[in-house]
Every structure is written in C-alpha cells, then in structure tokens.
Amino acid sequence: MGIVSPGFTGRRGGGKDLPPGQYLTHEFPVLSAGPTPHILTDHWEFTVTTETGEKYKWDWAALMALPAEEITKDIHCVTRWSKLQTTWKGVSLDTLLADVETGADFAMAHSYGGYTTNLPLDDLLDGQSWIAYEYDGEPLDPEHGGPARLLVPHLYFWKSAKWVRGLVLSDTEDLGFWETAGYHEYGDPWKEQRYAGD
C-alpha cells in the first residue's frame, strides 16, 4: 500500500533509458568501502584460478598485448545514479578466459585492497564484461578503480570491481563484500535488485 507525500511533485524526466528508481547524473560519483589502493602497473597482476586450483596469470604487459575493445555502455549504481554512454577501453573476459579449462558456474572477483564481489560466470562471458583500463580516453584513475577494473555494465556497478586482481571460479555461489553486507547477490538494475531479497 502506497501513500502520497504531501506537497511532493518530483523532478521527473528520468527517461526511458533508466532502470527503475535511478536518476541521471553527468558526474562520476565514487563509492568505495576503504582507502583507495594505489597499484603500480609494474606490480599489477591478474590471476584466474579455476575450481581445480589451476592458475592463469597475466601481468600488465601481457594484458596490453591482448586485443582491446572500445566499449560504450550505460552504468547504474545501486545508490541510484546512472550515467549513460560511458566509454571505456579494455580486454573482453571472453579473450582472457578463452583458454581457461573450467566447468564452474560462479566467479568471485578479488581486488587489491581486499574487496570481493560474486557473479555467475555466464554473466562474464559473451561480450558482457571486460577488464577496463581506460575511461573516456584516459588511463583509469585510481579513484575509479585504476589501473584496471572489472566492467560488467549490465549489473549494478558494485559488481564492476575496482582494482581487480583476479577471479576465483567455483561450482558453488559464495557472497562477496557488499553481498554479505545486505546487498543483492545478483544485482540486476532492471529488476531493481538492490538489497538481499529484492
């Protein structure tokens, strides 16, 4: 049962491109749980660990040597801002995972600084996710997850782990950092899956 808020008219104009409950911003707000880690590309490494414990590693030079894509996508933060047509450059997870032998259903993304977030592996494949290292034509700023972040724009943006350092693949679904702290385990903005149980 709803109510009417006396005297509230609203701003409207959110537009049809926005998922329910989102508003448009032209800024790029930051949401992080702790201090921003400052990771030098010389020390950067990305590791995929399969459910059998096998590891696949890339250093920065190896990442740069892979074919990159220009990506233009809308992004949606669970704190309700959406930003349309953001442009990124990065390597598709399809490319990174092409030679990885796995039958796993789930992935946990791990970040420098200790952040984690869980995703179904299917949501990382078929042109749906990237390791992004440029935003708007510039190297990705540490505040926004540089040197490289996961980019999974079809889910709420906390799934696009900043300062990503690896994926751990698994047959079972475990919950990541925000998912353990009350946020939804999947996070589809179009279904408004903000909090656990939504």
Binding site: S5, E27, P29, A33, G34, P35, R80, D105, G182
Partner: protein, 256 residues
C-alpha cells in the same frame, strides 16, 4: 534454469514502512533533522542507512538513501532520526529539508549496510572523521558509544564555518565526556579564539587522531574529495587500510 534455483532467496525482502514525522529541527541553513516514529522498526546498527521514498499525487516516485542519525538501543521507543543536507538541484532532499512537516507520513525501507557500522562489541578505540553532513552516521555511532562504549572515541569534524556545524548541542555534551574527544576543524572561517583555518592535513591527523599502534577503527564520511584526502593521509601516516572504513557521497549523490 538450474542456476536460478541455486540462486535462492537468502533473505526475505525488506518492505516499505510508513513512518510519521513527530518533530523537525533546523540544524543549519541547509540541514534539518527529522524525527520519525516508526512503529515496526526492527532496529539498526549505528552507521546504517535507510531508503526514503516519496510519491507524488500521480504516482510518480523518487527514492534516496540517508544515514540514520540516531543510535538504536531500544530506549528510544520507536523513534529514529534522519539529518538531511539539502543538495542544490536535488529532487528528494529539498522536500525533506523544506516541505515535509510534523504529522506527515514518510515511507522508509531499511536498515541497509553492514560495513560502515560500529558496534559496542568491537575492540579498540573509535576514530570518527567527518566532513560536512558526513558527520550524520558518525553522530549515530557517538550516541551508541555514549550508551555502551568502553573504549575511547574521538571525532574530528571538518566544517566550512561555525554556522555549518550540525549537532551543536550534542557536540557540547560530548565534549564534556571524559571518554570522547571532539575537535572541530574550520576550512573557511573559524570562530573567535580559534586560530586555525584550513583543511585536515597530516599535522592535524598526527595531533588529534589515534596513532596506528592504538588499534583504532577509523570511520571517514563526507564528500568524495574529503574522504579521498583523509583516507590517503591516514594510510600515509601508517594506518592499516583494512581498519579505515569509508563512506563517500558525490556531488550528485546526496548524503547517505
């Protein structure tokens, strides 16, 4: 789909509740505290936030998240407080600061967030560092600490000028407590007798914050540039990043 079955619902969905405004208090020229009666409130941890939903007559809705400004220890009946800073050009905050009045209903859903919270069971001192309306969740933590805290707490609170201080009378009471140390920092204009005008810097952190070896948990809340600066200063001063918890709000994000 097999996977859908695996991704079972772990928690019941939080439902919207109708609170009633029982009091409002002007804090500054742009901030107001709203006292709400929430008959079915389940309680919350200091630092958690909730969602507020406004509905226009034609059914149009807008929601935003706000930190709860008060602690919950069961002694406040079914009362909670929100403090809202008006965001220029905002959609929800101007309504909460200027339009909503005593007796009005307000839809809320929560509490949310399990990271930027303080509980009395936590070991070690509590270091709170707030910028502007970032002090709101820290005030809830100080209230919880006043009831059940056994370790020392310190608040470093950065404001533009004396008129910008939220919770003036609370802070006076807190400053009188042996267990809590309050230090205000003025960035634009200081009151008479306060020589320092300027942002929080390494020297101030060194002087007024707990030392890395004190084992404090530090909570930093404020606008993004403030939180970035303070968190970087803390890490540079040797604080363990894992013990520094942050909550940022952007220029368009509004307080939360």
């Amino acid at each position: 789909m097999e996977r859908t079955a695996i991704r079972r619902r772990l928690t019941a969905r939080m439902s919207w509740q109708i609170a009633t405004v029982t009091d409002v208090r002007r804090e500054t020229g742009t901030a107001r505290t709203i006292v709400l009666d929430v008959p079915d409130w389940q309680g919350h941890l200091a630092g958690q936030h909730l969602d507020v939903r406004l509905t226009a007559e034609d059914g149009y809705r807008a929601s935003r998240s706000y930190s709860v400004a008060s602690a919950w220890d069961g002694s406040h009946g079914s009362t909670i407080e929100l403090t809202v800073e008006q965001v220029p050009g905002g959609e929800v905050s101007p309504y909460l600061v200027d339009v909503l009045k005593v007796g009005d209903p307000l839809e809320i859903r929560g509490p949310v967030g399990g990271w930027f919270v303080w509980t009395p069971e936590q070991e070690g001192p509590v270091q709170l560092i707030g910028g502007g309306s970032g002090v709101v969740p820290l005030r809830a933590m100080l209230q919880a600490h006043a009831v059940a805290g056994t370790t020392p707490a310190r608040l470093l609170y950065s404001v533009r000028r004396p008129e910008s201080v939220i919770y003036v009378s609370d802070l006076k009471d807190l400053a009188a407590s042996d267990n809590v140390d309050v230090r205000l920092v003025y960035t634009r204009e200081a009151p008479a007798g306060e020589p320092r005008v300027g942002r929080i810097d390494a020297e101030l952190i060194e002087q007024y914050a707990f030392k890395p070896e004190d084992g404090a948990t530090t909570y930093v809340c404020g606008p993004t540039p403030f939180v970035e600066t303070v968190a970087n200063l803390l890490v540079a001063a040797g604080h363990d990043p894992a013990r520094v918890r942050t909550e940022r709000f952007g220029p368009t994000g509004g307080p939360r």
